[in-house]
Symmetry: D2
Subunit: 348 residues, 4 copies
């Protein structure tokens, strides 16, 4: 098979360099183009010396014809950019994987409310496939346009999914207390994300409302076959990579043995190469998935209350962004979904 | 007033050095003795060079007569040590503040179950005053024996207290998702707390049961006037100091305005110098209390669910241990409770 | 004595908040004014919640008459600002302590070359006293205008000083390999200082030339009574506070015992409350001075070569900036130099 | 080609898990055995959950016949263990790569002095090839016993090598100021390497003498064709992985243009896939090589003195240990030296 020809829009952030780290050594991929308005003309390996020797590409300004020779384009830009390219790319037969949020929310008015923009191509939102392979494998195989999930939604959805699909818990009262490493905040210059502000410090943010709330709710509602009640509180923790979602739910049958629930999780994810249900009693730590595309899940009944507690960890840049995007690409092009993204996590 | 003569048992850990940092410049205190079996004979400032110039004390082996000249003894040892000294000290008229857990749990059988020991002086447990000044100020003034609270219990109790005392929430379903810096794990040699294990890593632990659960439950039950249902999940976050408790509760009246609840918190803590209720919408970060004795609290209704979310932060070594112990000492000796522990938090 | 009335120009950075942390509880100081163009009107404790309860001040726009009632003004602005205020303040009889570099370099043309500006008041440069009390105590007592030293120059100068004053080493070949925590880079928004850029990363910078080079050279030349040859390489290390200078020099007498050199250091700093010469064989770590105004120094003959190695550590925000500025203020106003800045370092 | 059958002695440390991370996905390698006395019987993926799904091996007790079916054994144990296995393995025709120091120092009496042991097989020391492929490629092709270099020696030797081989500098006065991440200190339980001791802290250690000094001296002397004068000061910096060596040397010809020296470095390493000479003016940071087998080098003339400054960075666990060991294995078995260790560095 000839290599998949890949274009990247906006590869100057952490998601961009993670895409490059993985794609530049992917056996079936060839990155032929990477655009950036701000870094146009600069060698990619000058901005990211870690890539010296792996690519001779320079950033280029995006032009209408830029992507004519691409089989697929990854959009790793801020929200609101991919939707301005989507129609044109699809019309040319170029597939599009958007790592931002433009195509994630099916209800366009909800999307506009949270993202503060009018949608440029609402008619494509319905066509877009939400790129969580553990849910939408079949649709992804033929997808032309993929909405790559957010990092919090990936960890939270995979953690709650078997519970909700199996009807084991009260879906009207779900709590997701999630903690993210700082790369999740992006590579833009800001005082709030300075080392001296973030290090040796821990805080919650956006308790009154976070953009990932409607995305998670949509996922869980689809699994539940109806509305769910979700409390979602994100936190910033002083580390580079990783999301740890601590999920709380009330069992409908308080006496249901945790072993049964564990067996349901194992069955649900038995064929999923990137979801690992740990033995009962395990506390997955974020470094067990660092730089890998894996999601690891631990299950507990909380001491004292018996509430069900699910611990779900991913690397926000890999399974939470670039790795999952490549997993989606693999599926869209008929490859084994694990190609190029199956290395063990880095320790430590 | 002459200075309070102070002995410290077991001052080689992080709680010990925090006690020394504060007591050695406390205007009404004089540390006359500090014991350690393992470091006996070594200058304190050799173990802790930060204290060079502040003390000429050396660690000494504890002897029966060691504390004869003390007004008060702080026990900063592992659990199970203070109870072996308590009777003798009290008989000599020496007050005792235990920074470990020996006297925190009123039900001695519960204590034995969690701490895996027979209690050496159950008759003193009842006499001991639980050293949370915001609850037990009156009793502390005459206390001879104080059980200094745990770090998680301090942050969690202060965060929930006004809600429960005012009967605003369903006390049968309280969730405390708490995150601690690594100093909370102590200064003992262990692989689990190595830099290379803990840094750039986040995890939950002891979901099935943690020793601070019965302590928190006891506090909340006392405030509620009856049993409470508590789910408590502690996490380890890669920072030195700080606890961030994210607390979830269901309002009995879902329509109750958050402004009303905020006013209740402000009224409850109006006269408390070490509890700071932030303006509505605030997200306190742990560094805003770093090295200080302050607890800061933020209040929110969570977007999407309306569940009440309380954010409560302390420094685990200060308000969560040594600072609160000194606050208790101040109260026991008729001083203003803030003496020696009122410096601003270090930033950053 | 009535309190010293203090104004602060530009207190929104890390040096500013460190000044406030120390001055707001200094027994002889009263901060009456703090200016900031960008934060004008905002409560200081809103920007820095750590100061809630310690000040009711708000930032104000600087006006010509702003400082009329001040005894002393601390300028904690970027380089080039203090020199625009200096003449006016001095004419009013207000003392000025500049924490930036405007008055540090006696050769104005050298200053202009390094700082890229024409000096606004070259005639005041000569009058300014370089605020290193361990060198200029006598002049500081009557100083109206103080140039507070840079962080690297403080650690490096104090480390080399006894060697050079005593004529023990070849001053034509001095090497200072210095490592700084990230707060030294300031609080401005920049990609380079993001947590995700700096954390788990170490690098040298400005090897071809750093602004602190002429300042250090000036200090050492003054001690040597003639020009010195200095190689200075700064590095950024992933921590918040602290400078570690590793200093290399060749003894003129290779056989001179290290004990003799150690005695010379001890004698030189015997009366200096903020310089601590450690016992031979010691490796001072930066946390032994964290948040304190202390400089700690270790001395070694390097294994294998016998080259003299001096290890000198300070906290860049305290002895390297705000603490030393307050030390200077104390001296200028006839106080004991340690007032308000003598607390032990925070551990850990 | 059939896969190389690999045994690992003592794989429970950071070097061990790094070997496994790389070898378990190496296309020509098969790990058939991994021994550990302390973890015997435990699944490897239980100790290192990051490896779940990549291996079913359990740790076993080392037995005389354990390695009979191995083509090569990696010894990732503390110093002094590999030498007890070497004779037997070689006699069986099993190649041995020792990641500890047993075979690094050619002068056995020097080795004994520094490592405090009698050498178990001095006759094999001479036979051992020092596994720095950029120096010993030819000998490595036929080596049966390889002494894998230390982390500091790798970074320092590669940084100094072209200078010394070309006779450009005064070899009697070389300074290596080196900074290491904490994984270099190993995975043993110790107070000194606790997160709470190491984080937000920087220090030098072993200034009077470090075991890597004779190893580096041996390397440089070999390049110089005679003795060198080396000052080596190691430091511990709060990060997980990485070594940054800042190297100082005096040019014999002070006027020699840096461009000439740069050209010499480029020529020296032109054919070396794992040494990257950066453009003039570059400051390589450790994260540019994190998790990769690359060494990156920057060259400068220091401002003010004209002294030559070389900046050399590696990942201590990869090029400084496990990655280089695999590079050596590749060479010993006739593979391209880059197989399995050519992925880009992880960013960030």
């Amino acid at each position: 098979m000839s290599k998949i020809k890949i274009g990247i829009i906006g590869g100057t952030g952490y998601t961009g360099v993670e895409l490059l780290r993985l794609l530049l050594v992917h056996p079936n991929a060839e990155v032929i183009l990477i655009t950036s308005r701000s870094e146009s003309g600069r060698a990619v390996s000058d901005l990211f010396p870690s890539l010296r020797g792996f690519t001779d590409l320079a950033f280029t300004k995006p032009e209408p014809s830029s992507f004519n020779h691409c089989d697929v384009v990854f959009s790793a830009t801020p929200n609101g950019i991919a939707m301005t390219h989507a129609r044109e790319l699809l019309d040319k037969g170029v597939k599009l994987i958007d790592l931002a949020a433009d195509f994630r929310i099916k209800d366009v008015s909800v999307w506009s409310e949270w993202y503060g923009m009018v949608h440029a191509c609402p008619e494509l939102v319905e066509q877009a496939v939400y790129g969580l392979p553990e849910v939408n494998m079949a649709s992804l195989k033929n997808a032309q346009l993929v909405a790559n999930p957010g990092c919090y939604p990936t960890a939270t959805t995979l953690g709650f999914l078997p519970l909700i699909e199996s009807g084991l818990v009260d879906v009207s009262d779900l709590v997701a207390d999630a903690k993210s490493g700082v790369t999740g905040a992006g590579r833009g210059a800001s005082v709030a994300n300075l080392y001296s502000e973030v290090n040796d410090n821990f805080k919650a943010y956006a308790v009154a409302g976070h953009r990932h709330h409607p995305e998670i709710s949509q996922n869980l509602a689809e699994a539940a076959g109806g509305a769910v009640g979700l409390t979602f509180v994100p936190h910033l923790t002083p580390m580079l990579r990783g999301i740890h979602a601590t999920l709380y739910a009330n069992l409908l049958n308080l006496d249901q043995p945790i072993e049964e629930i564990h067996a349901i999780y194992e069955a649900r994810y038995h064929n999923e190469p990137f979801v690992d249900v740990l033995p009962l009693g395990s506390h997955p730590d974020t470094r067990s998935v660092k730089t890998s595309n894996m999601c690891r899940i631990g299950l507990h009944k909380a001491g004292g209350s018996g509430k069900l507690v699910v611990l779900s960890v991913i690397d926000n840049l890999t399974k939470g962004a670039a790795g999952q995007a490549i997993q989606n690409m693999n599926i869209m092009f008929g490859l084994d979904q694990t190609v190029g993204i199956s290395n063990p996590a880095v320790q430590p």
